[in-house]
Symmetry: C2
């Protein structure tokens, strides 16, 4: 085990690259500045998902612009010159300060949350956008909008970004005018119109946890139906393919920041789909990289084609497990009987 640990540690220093030279950026999902050293130690090439929710939770009033600026700036400076993707507030109203609390929703997962909430509480949203744009002067920042369901919503967010940029320019405050603006693809409608959305943004990041939940109409936190939450449902594979094809056609990068990205069982398939970036909890990076460095993209593409012929999640799962166990007997040793 000690030798194995050493081996994984050694992987941290090597690039995320396939045998045939395809670069896949392996980044960290991070919430607190204190987690950054861990991310760097595991070889994260930047932060693919910086969650801003912690700033808003457990307090009586939302955080001001200066407080947010210093939080974002700290992360950007710690990771420079690597990029940090800051996700705008991804909460439901039920989690926030009492004055803006909305707690009477029958189905909060289908309710006022994330960008919907931000667009309703525009002052709150604008404060966050100002802090993110100002922080962009101190590193490689990217802005990511969660729960986008259509083009009109995206336009509304971009308009607010333009307002913020104009204000900062007028105030003589520094920011990166080319700050990339991207969206999470985590709502089924966004997957189906990925081609229309790809024209309007600088990058995609697939949030598989929500994407799977909504595509299958399953709350995976609900024990009665959690068995239906299947990352390898054929509809999910097809949706991921639609999203990646749309990104490629528009020449924008596409990443994944859901849990699926962190499981090496899926790495070869995600490579075959064409993902440019996988963002995960940092300790998962070495194992994903280990798979990545021993395969070619064409192998991923072939495997994907094979999986796409199967009609059920359990058949796809079995086929993938067989294939990965055959290729990587040490990594995917089947559980002892």
């Amino acid at each position: 085990q000690a030798a194995r640990d050493e081996e994984l540690l050694g992987l941290c220093l090597l690039p995320g690259e396939t045998l045939d030279g395809v670069r896949v950026h392996l980044r960290g999902n991070v919430e607190l500045t204190e987690e950054l050293p861990l991310a760097l130690r595991h070889g994260a090439e930047g932060v693919g998902l910086f969650r801003s929710e912690f700033l808003y939770l457990n307090r009586s009033a939302p955080p001001g612009e200066e407080e947010q600026l210093s939080a974002y700036r700290a992360v950007l400076e710690a990771m420079a010159p690597q990029p940090v993707t800051i996700r705008s507030l991804d909460l439901g109203g039920d989690k926030l300060a009492p004055e803006i609390n909305i707690s009477d929703e029958l189905n909060p997962a289908l309710g006022l949350r994330a960008v919907r909430f931000s667009l309703k509480e525009r002052r709150l949203f604008k404060t966050q956008l100002r802090a993110i744009f100002r922080a962009s002067a101190f590193g490689q920042a990217r802005l990511m909008l969660p729960m986008i369901s259509g083009v009109a919503e995206l336009w509304a967010c971009r308009e607010l970004c333009e307002e913020v940029k104009a204000e900062l320019t007028a105030e003589g405050v520094a920011y990166d005018p080319g700050l990339p603006i991207g969206i999470m693809i985590e709502i089924p409608s966004a997957a189906l119109i990925a081609d229309l959305l790809a024209r309007e943004v600088d990058f995609f990041s697939v949030g598989t946890n929500d994407l799977i939940q909504y595509f299958l109409a399953v709350d995976r936190g609900n024990e009665h139906v959690a068995y239906l939450y299947e990352p390898l449902h054929p509809a999910i594979l097809r949706a991921l393919r639609l999203i990646c094809q749309a990104a490629r056609a528009a020449s924008i990068p596409v990443g994944m920041c859901g849990e699926m990205a962190s499981d090496p069982l899926y790495t070869l398939v995600l490579l075959g789909l064409g993902f440019d970036e996988l963002s995960m909890n940092p300790p998962s990076i070495p194992r994903v990289k280990e798979v990545l460095r021993q395969v070619r993209r064409s192998e991923g593409e072939d495997l994907l084609e094979q999986l796409l012929t199967l009609p059920t999640a359990s058949e796809i799962n079995r086929c993938l497990e067989d294939e990965m166990t055959r290729r990587f007997p040490v990594l995917f040793r089947p559980p002892a009987p």
Copy 2:
């Protein structure tokens, strides 16, 4: 107004048919036997959605086989020789008798409901299936399964149907061995694998209310986000197209039983998509038929192509309203300013 009422009433007696001879069956959504005369008076060619929930509500124990049989038989006999599509129980556990009540779900819309509930409470399900199969001896019955998300779930239901048929045969009880078995398409995953599902069933019926909700991740009963519930979101049009194409490729009929079917604004688009059946609250039938009888399928196809080039629901909506107002100034007079 009296002349107009007379005109609509006259339509009740005419077939649902386009100028170029395409038959679209206009059927009724019905819950109680008492509603059948109303459906017949409005020219319903059978019942496209017979809701069985009323049998289960507001009582201390679920209904037995004999009670259900007589309810289904009454509807079948009243509508014969027209078909009646009986939907198996489409409830969440929270609505049922206390002994099987599940009321602790955080997101009931993503929880244990409809066919998921039936597959968990197999005795309850089997009782209902036995009643439906037995009733099929008395008319043109069809069985429709709600909330199917994938092929495996469908197989589980079909297996139970086979069990029921074998039992009835062994008992010497009459039933229709060719009873058509279809599914509602109302979960995004089902839309994306409509081709895989079409091979396994006798018909599709699209439940637009839920399909739209899940595709857009919007609870339309939630006032804060109801504005996002858009039947003409481009992702919805694309999903409907996928479903209809899959049905056509497998040569099975495809219907719609959500509210979208009952609004004449959508009739020409639904014709263009290729729907064979529209099922609605009976009083809506004459107005839908009025549109249907004045158009050609190719006109619907052309309109659909035009709508599919637009990137947002509001643009699609405006284009459709303009077109329908132009064609049918009396039906779609714009609201007074």
